[in-house]
């Protein structure tokens, strides 16, 4: 079996199943069956990645804090422990059979709908991610816009959860979450504009095609692309409510934020939605800046494209866990200042830099000019913001 055949094995499989079903089903049903066949693997694989991530996250966080992390649960009724990787099954069963508590004063309908309204848009976002060669479930002409459109729909579900609980911590968490998501959506979208200008398309599959042929063709390998990728990463962390931007669910301040009043399976849905949102955001970062499913070296193209996508996704997940284990949480005013005074101006500068990159002749001059265009404003801006903050040596005051 050639490398190409292994790469396309899922596509071949899908067409085989379609061809096998074709005589038995009416014609109008075929597009629906085809769509179901494209969607089902996504609905199965990414929740599995989520399940594994919960264990990996707890183990890695444990290692960062010098403790082993979960290492007991393996296959039930045997002595096989699998280094604790059976934990997610136990957690899943626990979430399913736990009592579902709804506050008496809660707005029952909205309270019930909120987790569903979170998970559906997040799952929809996966339909435009190219997870392998010819493996985009829905290759839209404006795929990137689709991703951001469904992403912005999750804000409303966060509000629904926080407001319907009739709990001040839940409402505070929801307000924090919405303020944060609205503020960071701006740099998130603006940081992708450079890539869209360069490739001249909003289709995710075409953006990946434009980065073929080794890691030096990836957008993150250009000065403007690297800066945009870095800003994208910060904004994506904030958009996914991950540490150091986890103010909406800061457990030491507001219990659990907008899902304080959720328990059992609905809580598990919020948990799932949050992680799936993180993976989708990572997937978009991979697609736009890190060459999508392309191998880093042309010689490595023998490895199937979908393996490369999931390897890159794994690196992203580990990176986010590392961030969570090492960074302290920001304060609300710091969060807003970072978004509006630092991220938005810098993303605008990367757009201009991308334009300059497009119209200058390739060479060292172009590289230096564009780098200077980004580094100089970055230094000036960070310096100005640092001085404006008026920070000096920390002083302590004691009670007299």
């Amino acid at each position: 079996m050639s490398a190409e055949a292994i790469d396309q094995i899922f596509i071949t499989l899908k067409h085989a199943i379609l061809g096998w079903l074709a005589p038995y089903l009416p014609d109008w049903l075929m597009p629906i069956v085809s769509a179901v066949l494209s969607i089902t693997p996504i609905l199965m694989v990414f929740p599995l990645v989520f399940a594994l991530t919960t264990v990996v996250e707890r183990k890695v966080l444990g290692r960062i804090q010098n403790r082993p992390g979960p290492n007991r649960v393996g296959i039930p009724l045997t002595n096989i422990r699998l280094a604790g990787f059976g934990q997610f099954i136990a957690d899943g069963i626990k979430a399913l059979i736990k009592e579902d508590v709804v506050p008496r004063n809660a707005d029952k309908v909205v309270h019930f709908l909120a987790p569903i309204a979170l998970v559906i848009p997040v799952l929809l976002a996966y339909s435009v991610l190219p997870i392998g060669k010819n493996m985009t479930a829905l290759d839209l002409d404006s795929g990137v816009l689709f991703f951001f459109a469904v992403g912005s729909a999750t804000e409303l579900s966060v509000f629904m959860a926080g407001w319907s609980s009739r709990n001040k911590y839940a409402l505070l968490g929801a307000m924090r979450a919405i303020a944060q998501m609205v503020s960071y959506e701006l740099p998130l979208v603006l940081s992708t504009v450079g890539v869209i200008m360069m490739t001249g398309t909003l289709s995710t599959a075409k953006i990946v095609d434009a980065q073929a042929g080794g890691f030096w063709h990836w957008h993150a390998a250009t000065p403007w692309g690297f800066a945009a990728f870095f800003l994208f990463l910060i904004a994506a962390t904030a958009e996914a409510n991950r540490t150091p931007f986890d103010l909406p669910e800061a457990e030491s301040e507001i219990i659990a934020g907008y899902f304080t009043e959720y328990s059992g399976f609905k809580f598990a849905l919020f948990f799932l939605g949050e992680y799936l949102g993180l993976f989708a955001m990572s997937g978009l970062g991979i697609t736009l800046f890190l060459g999508g499913w392309h191998a880093p070296l042309p010689a490595l193209e023998v490895v199937p494209s979908w393996i490369w996508f999931f390897l890159k996704l794994g690196v992203f997940i580990l990176f986010f866990i590392w961030l969570r284990g090492t960074f302290p949480r920001l304060r609300m005013d710091q969060l807003m200042n970072l978004a509006w005074k630092f991220m938005v101006p810098l993303t605008l500068i990367t757009i201009v830099a991308a334009g300059v990159w497009r119209f200058m002749d390739p060479g060292a001059t172009r590289c230096l000019t564009v780098t200077a265009m980004i580094v100089v404003p970055y230094l000036l801006l960070s310096n100005a913001l640092y001085t404006a903050r008026g920070v000096g040596k920390r002083t302590y005051r004691y009670a007299e």
Binding site: D141, F148, L156
Partner: protein
């Protein structure tokens, strides 16, 4: 008249009516968001992909959020026992019905109702961008200016009273 259109139309009309009649303002805003999503679906069905997605991004992601924020900031989420409709409510409904009757009469009797259906136009985002940057460059610039003015204006209006109160 296809099934998809019937479902979307029912969704839009029901959620729009709910958005205008429900007692709780937050419910109204959420129903409005559903109506916006239904409209976005209609645009997608009509082949205007970019507009449909912009509709979700702007209306559901921004306008609906703005509205719920305004509801919470003005503490009008759950209104008291007082009347929700103005004294001339019947008059308003009558006017709206009259408007619908006139519009419906005009639409059903107009020449467009007898026009044949053309095949779906093939348009891409690239064409749209091309148009925006050539034929519509002046409106685009004016719009950018308008948005900046609106943003500054909104901030000033919302800030003003707070400072004088200090």
């Amino acid at each position: 008249m296809t099934l998809a259109f019937a479902i979307l139309a029912a969704l839009i009309v029901v959620s729009a009516v709910a958005a205008m009649t429900l007692r709780n303002l937050v419910h109204c805003a959420l129903c409005l968001a559903v109506a916006f999503i239904g409209l976005a679906g209609t645009y997608l069905q009509l082949g205007a992909q970019f507009v449909g997605l912009s509709q979700v991004l702007v209306y559901v992601g921004a306008v609906a959020i703005l509205i719920v924020f305004a509801i919470l900031l003005t503490r009008s989420g759950e209104p008291g026992p007082g009347r929700q409709f103005s004294a001339t409510a019947l008059m308003g409904v009558a006017i709206a019905l009259a408007v619908f009757a006139v519009l419906g009469k005009v639409i059903t009797s107009s020449a467009v109702a007898k026009r044949g259906v053309l095949p779906a136009p093939q348009t891409s985002v690239a064409q749209l961008g091309q148009k925006l940057m050539t034929d519509y460059i002046l409106p685009l610039e004016v719009l950018a200016l308008l948005l900046t003015a609106a943003m500054i204006g909104a901030v000033i209006i919302a800030l003003k009273e707070k400072e004088s109160a200090k």
